[in-house]
Every structure is written in C-alpha cells, then in structure tokens.
C-alpha cells in the first residue's frame, strides 16, 4: 500500500518536473495562430480593414473580434484561405476586389512636402523636403495611403498590368458545343 502510494507520488513528481521544464524550454512567443493568419494576409499594411496594419487585423481575427472578409487586397481568395485555416464559413468580401496597383507620383506637380513619405507604411517613397519625391515601384504595395495626404493631388494609382514575367497560363476551359 505504502509502496504503491510512494510510486505514484514519485511518478507525479517526475512527470510534473518534466512538464514544468518543457513549458519553459519550449515556450512559444506570441500567438502561433496570429502568425498563421498574418502569413495569409497580403502585408500591404493599407488599413482598409479598419485596423492599423496587417498584424493588428490578424490579432483581431484570432481574438474573434473581426470578420475574415475585410481585406480587399487579399481578395476572395484570401477570404477562402482564412476560412480554411480557421474553420469558418466563407463569406463574400466586404469590399470591392481591386487588381494590384502601384502609386505613381507626377514629378512635375510634386512640391516636396514629404507628407506621402510619412504616410507610406513600407518606406517605398524617397525624397526630401522641397525635393521631388518618387515611388520605388518594386517596393510599393499599392496601399493608397499616400494618395490622401498629398496636398497637390499629384499621386495616382495605376493598375499593374501583366508582363511576360508575371503572365500566367490560364485554367483550361473548353467550350461545350450546343447539341443541335
């Protein structure tokens, strides 16, 4: 009887120590779900979802505070991926789906006020006070955040067309002939 109790007690101590050690050793920083959600979001940092960037939106989704259909750059495909990850229903996108865009500064009109530089979330605009600014097109995420602050309305968004490098083969579709 006593032996049995001792054995069980010893077992409890050993296992408890192992678990305690594991919880310190293998501690995960942050919420892994947030990271997974964030990996699906397009990282444009545009704030069109109503949150100040992709990470806050991911955190809100993980906390169940936000719908998964509020990311226009992610599009319907992004909604489907989030629904798949979270086991939620696929809902239609809560905005108009837009093709990928690029900001372009009309360099003749630019007065060099630096407001767009401050607005750009990814540091994709270069320039200095009273010097012409320009967008580094390879870094632009097309978030449109620079458009509003411009006092002279010299920034426009242009849809990025297909190029030979980005062209994709289409999904094979075949016309079904009408039976006469």
């Amino acid at each position: 009887m006593l032996t049995a109790i001792l054995i069980m007690a010893l077992g409890a101590v050993v296992l408890g120590a192992a678990l305690g050690f594991a919880s310190i050793k293998f501690k995960t920083e942050g919420n892994p779900l947030v990271e997974k959600i964030e990996a699906i979001l397009p990282q444009t940092q545009c704030g069109q979802c109503g949150f100040a960037g992709c990470k806050p939106y991911a955190e809100a989704i993980a906390a169940g505070e936000a719908d998964i259909n509020r990311c226009p750059p992610g599009g319907q495909e992004g909604v489907a991926k989030l629904a798949d990850l979270l086991g939620r229903e696929i809902t239609p996108l809560d905005a108009e789906e837009k093709p990928k865009q690029l900001a372009i500064i009309d360099e003749h009109t630019c007065i060099g006020c630096t407001l767009c530089i401050q607005a750009c979330p990814v540091d994709a605009i270069v320039g200095a006070a009273k010097q012409m600014h320009t967008v580094v097109s390879a870094l632009c995420t097309g978030c449109e955040l620079c458009v509003k602050p411009c006092p002279v309305e010299c920034i426009r968004m242009e849809v990025i067309g297909e190029s030979l490098e980005t062209w994709k083969w289409r999904y094979p579709i075949f016309e079904i002939k009408r039976a006469s």
Partner: protein, 571 residues
C-alpha cells in the same frame, strides 16, 4: 559500339519531316523591318545600348547582358534604329516586350569582325566572349551557354553530350545543319570540350537521320577528334536533355538536380555551331536556321535573321489558303504565335503553318478513366493523372509533392490520353500559378519586414525626441531656481506657451494632446518651484504682469490659438 540505354515512356508520333528536307538551307531575304526583342534568353533582361535614329552595323551589340545568366543581343543587319519600344513578343500570352526596331539599309555592312584564337584566352574571358556574342541554347530553351560551360567543382566532368536528336515532329533545322555544316559544329564542340574537359564526347542523333549521322561521322574523322557519333532510337522525346543523357550514358539525373552534378553536360548542335562562328569568325548570333513547314506550298529551312517578323517569313513558304494559325516550335511543345507582327527569336527553331485539316480541333475533354496510359508514356516517370487531379482542384501543394516541376511539358501524356484531357495545359497552369504565389509571398514578406522596421524606427525616434525634450526641460528647470532672481519668475511662467508650439511643431503628426499634457506638467512643475517663499516685491510684480496680460487678451489669443488653450486663466 557504345552501349545504349533506354528511357522509360515516350511516344512515336508521325514525324512529318520529309517535306522540309527536300531542299538545302537557303538564306532568307532581308525583311523590310527587323524587330529584335532585347530579352531572348533565360535570365536577365539586356538593357538597350542604342537610341532611336542611330545607325547600327550588322552584328553591333544593341543590348548588353546585365548579369551572369543573360546574353547580349545584336543588330541582325545594318540600318537605322527606328524605335525602341514594347512590341508583340513571340510568346503565347500575346503581350509585348521591349524591342529594338531596325529599318535595314540593305548594305549589310558588318562591324569589324575580330576572330579570336580561343586557345589563347583564359576560360573566364572565353565565357564572357560567348556571352557578349549572344550564344544561347538553340534547341529551344535559350539558356545562356557560357553559364553551362563550367564544370561542377565537386564532380569531375565525365561526358559531354551533344544533342542532335531533334525528336519533335516537323522540325528539321538541326538535321540540315548537321548535313551541311558538320565541320563547324564539330569545331564548336571542341571548344566546349576544351572548356569542360570531359573524358568522353558523345553526339546523339536519332536514327531517322542517316545523312546527318554520316556527315557528322565524316567531319569527326576529318578533324581527327575522338568524338563518338551515335544513332539513338527514334522515339519522342529522345531529344530532351535528361532523356538523351539517359540513353547515351545510362545516368539518371535525379529530380531537381542538374546534370553537371552527375558529371554530364548537354548542348545542342546548333549552339556548338554558333559558338564556333562567334569565336572563329567574330560573328555574334544574329541569325538561325528556321524550319518553315506544315500547310505551306514550299516547306524548307531558311537561315533567317533574328527579328524577322513572322508575316514576312511565312511568305517564303507560300502558305495555303486554309492556313489559320502558325505554331512556333514543334506540334508537341510549341505554341501558337500571337500575331504576324511577332518576330522570330533565338528560340524559334520551327514555324508550322496549321490548318483545321492538319491539326483538327481537339476532341472534347472527357472524364479521366484512370487508365494510367499517361503514366506509362511519361518520360520522367511522373504520374500525370495525379498531377492532373491536383492541378484541376488547384491543390498546388500536392502537385509539388508529386514533382510537378520535373515535368518538361513534352506532351506525351496529352498525346496518349484516351479522354483527350489537355494535361500539359493543366500542368502549365499549375506551374505559373505556383510561381505567381511565390512572387506574391516574397513581396509580402519584404513589405512586412519593411513595415516592421519602419515602426521600430518611429518608436525609436519618438523615444529619442521625448528624452531630448525631457533633458532640455530638466536643464532649464535646474537653471532657473539656481538663478533666484526676481525676474526669473516671469520667463518661467511664460515658458509653457513658448514651449508648447515647439513641441507641437516638432511632433507634428504625433499626438498634439500628449504635447499639451507634457506642457501642462512642465508648467505646473515650474510653478510649484517658483511660487514658494515669494517676496512681496515678487508678488507685486506678478500682479502687475497679470494685469498687463488681462489688458491684452486679444493679442494673446492670436498668439496662442494654434497651440493650446490659453494657460492664462489657470494661473
């Protein structure tokens, strides 16, 4: 006699090669206009070196290689550059690509051609020379050849395989080149051999080209080199690099590995020919042999200047009236040219005029019956039916598990499919979709890290500024009580309104409220220190100042409206 091996799968489509073999290679006449795309090889996009209105000579470099895996492009004839602009590309998409348009002057004036004795050149210089001459793989993949001409460091180069198989139906450009210019091909191969130093050189030619075999054997004997010219069984795709390596050496190149890691390298015969022309004659790649066949009156091989518009080229063969499309490449792997303005490029080995009679419209796609015929036909031992299901369901992760990227898009599976499923189209779709996703993912990751860095920097700057201001305030605060002059109270009390605009201006977008809060705290701190133990003299002075302030409220309001609520009442 070399022992030959077999590759699995493959098909035997009707060859249709005879019509274009009747006549020798002819030189195509000078077209009215040449449209030379700058990007004609795998790798970087060459930057244009010429301007509109500039006169160029035949062979003059018009686009310089911009990185190691890239190749230069040259003016195919002398004339005037009339445009440097996007033009329709020889590509299934129908999109445009940056091109140099040249109006020939008809004089065919060459640049100063400098033959080089390649033995005297260091290997690196020789590779650079080939790159600047625009030598790329002319079998159709257009991979810059110089980038293939260095042996792997860990594995000694054992075999150099020269590809003269030309397994695609209709195509005869390599066949005629081997028949007519075998000696120059063999000389080109010796250059490759000297660079790679393999133990053996194996030239593989399909056994349906006895004249080419004969001619190449004679050239090898004449030049006294120990290359082995071997007939390989005719079976599509024997001309695939990995298949030919398998047949000639028995080596199987594993998935996602390159042949140099197995001690083998493979070049096309036409590539060897252009490499020799570039070295021995100083002629860059400005033309190639193009087979014009199919639904035309006079099928033939033409030595055509690169950049010749398709519309002008096909006139040489007099297409029959029912021709409705033109394919570039063979019927198995080629694609339909997007328009007659598209130019011929380094990859254009064959143009086939198509008609509904020659290429009947595909039968309707039926459901997959899981017969496995595609798996038997696949020369890469993939399972096309599995790949098909996953591609069709857009399950791209699974397609990669089933080695989608080992697919060479040879078309054997589609050819044998009893349900007429266009399998290759599904695979191409899946591949480009995966590439696009990878691009998006990389862009998103880059954007994320930039965003995070920016936030971090903002935080740091804010903290630094707050620290600076706090230090300044502290310095001021310690200075003033030390002064202990009666007048000191006045500036101390006036400091807050003066400080506030500084704060607000500097912080700009940062919370104005926070600045105001700080200002208020500072003011209060200052007041506490200065209102203790005041002398009557000081009290009187404060009263006088307050009276003065009350007399000029309008003036104060103007001064302070853009800053903060006037602090006068609080005092």
């Amino acid at each position: 006699m070399l022992q030959l091996f077999k590759f699995k799968g493959g098909v035997k489509p009707e060859t249709h090669k005879a019509p274009s073999l009747q006549a020798p290679i002819a030189k195509a006449p000078l077209p009215e206009q040449l449209i030379v795309p700058l990007h004609q090889s795998i790798g970087g996009v060459p930057q244009p070196l010429v301007e509109v209105g500039q006169h160029v000579l035949k062979g003059q470099r018009i686009g310089a290689a911009d990185q190691w895996v890239s190749a230069a492009v040259h003016a195919p004839t002398s004339g005037t550059v009339i445009a440097v602009e996007p033009r329709l590309a020889a590509h299934p998409s129908g999109l445009t690509t940056a091109s140099v348009v040249i109006a020939p002057d008809g004089r065919e004036e060459w640049i100063d051609r400098q033959p080089v004795d390649y033995h005297t050149l260091a290997p690196e210089r020789l590779r650079e020379h080939l790159r600047d001459a625009g030598v790329v793989g002319l079998g159709g993949a257009v991979f810059p050849s110089h980038a293939k001409l260095s042996a792997a460091k860990s594995v000694p180069m054992e075999e150099l395989v020269i590809n003269g198989a030309e397994c695609e139906p209709f195509m005869t450009c390599d066949d005629l080149l081997m028949r007519e210019r075998a000696e120059e091909i063999v000389r080109g191969i010796t250059v490759f051999r000297d660079l790679l130093e393999p133990r053996k050189v194996l030239i593989g030619i399909e056994d349906n080209k006895p004249e080419a075999l004969q001619s190449m054997r004679e050239a090898v004997a004449r030049l006294g080199v120990d290359f082995t010219v071997t007939a390989v069984p005719t079976r599509y795709p024997a001309g695939g690099a990995k298949q030919l390596i398998r047949v000639l050496t028995g080596k199987e190149v594993p998935a996602s590995r390159r042949s140099p890691e197995m001690g083998v390298q493979c070049f096309n015969v036409a590539t060897a020919y252009t490499a020799w022309r570039a070295l021995a004659f100083g002629e860059p790649v400005i033309s190639r042999i193009v087979t014009l066949t199919g639904n035309v009156e006079t099928p033939r091989n033409w030595e055509t200047l690169l950049g010749t518009p398709l519309g002008e080229f096909i006139r040489l063969g007099a297409p029959k009236p029912d021709t409705d499309r033109y394919l570039m490449g063979g019927p198995m792997m080629g694609f339909e040219m997007p328009g007659l303005e598209a130019p011929l490029v380094k990859a254009s080995n064959c143009i086939i005029a198509g008609s509904p009679a020659l290429f009947p419209p595909p039968a309707p796609e039926m459901p997959c019956i899981r017969c496995g015929a595609c798996a038997e036909a696949c020369p890469h031992e993939l399972q096309p039916f599995e790949l098909y299901w996953f591609s069709r369901a857009r399950n791209f992760g699974k397609t990669q598990e089933y080695n989608l990227f080992d697919c060479i898009e040879c078309g054997c599976c589609s050819y044998v499919c009893p349900s007429h499923i266009p399998l290759v189209q599904y695979f191409r779709f899946a591949k480009s979709e995966i590439w696009a996703r990878e691009r998006d993912k990389n862009q998103a990751d880059a954007a994320k890290s930039r965003f995070e860095f920016r936030n971090e920097r903002d935080e740091r700057e804010k903290a630094e500024k707050a620290e600076r201001l706090a230090r300044a305030a502290a310095a001021k605060a310690t200075e003033k009580p030390a002064a202990e002059k009666p007048a000191a109270t006045v500036p101390a009390e006036e400091t807050p309104p003066a400080n506030a605009p500084v704060d607000a201006d500097a912080a700009k977008k940062a919370a104005i409220a926070a600045a105001m809060e700080r200002a208020r705290l500072q003011r209060e701190a200052a007041q506490v220190k200065n209102t203790d133990n005041l002398s009557t003299e000081q009290r009187e002075e404060i009263a006088r100042i307050d009276a003065r302030r009350a007399r000029a409220p309008a003036h104060q309001a103007v001064e302070q409206t853009d800053v903060a609520p006037p602090p006068a009442q609080e005092q």
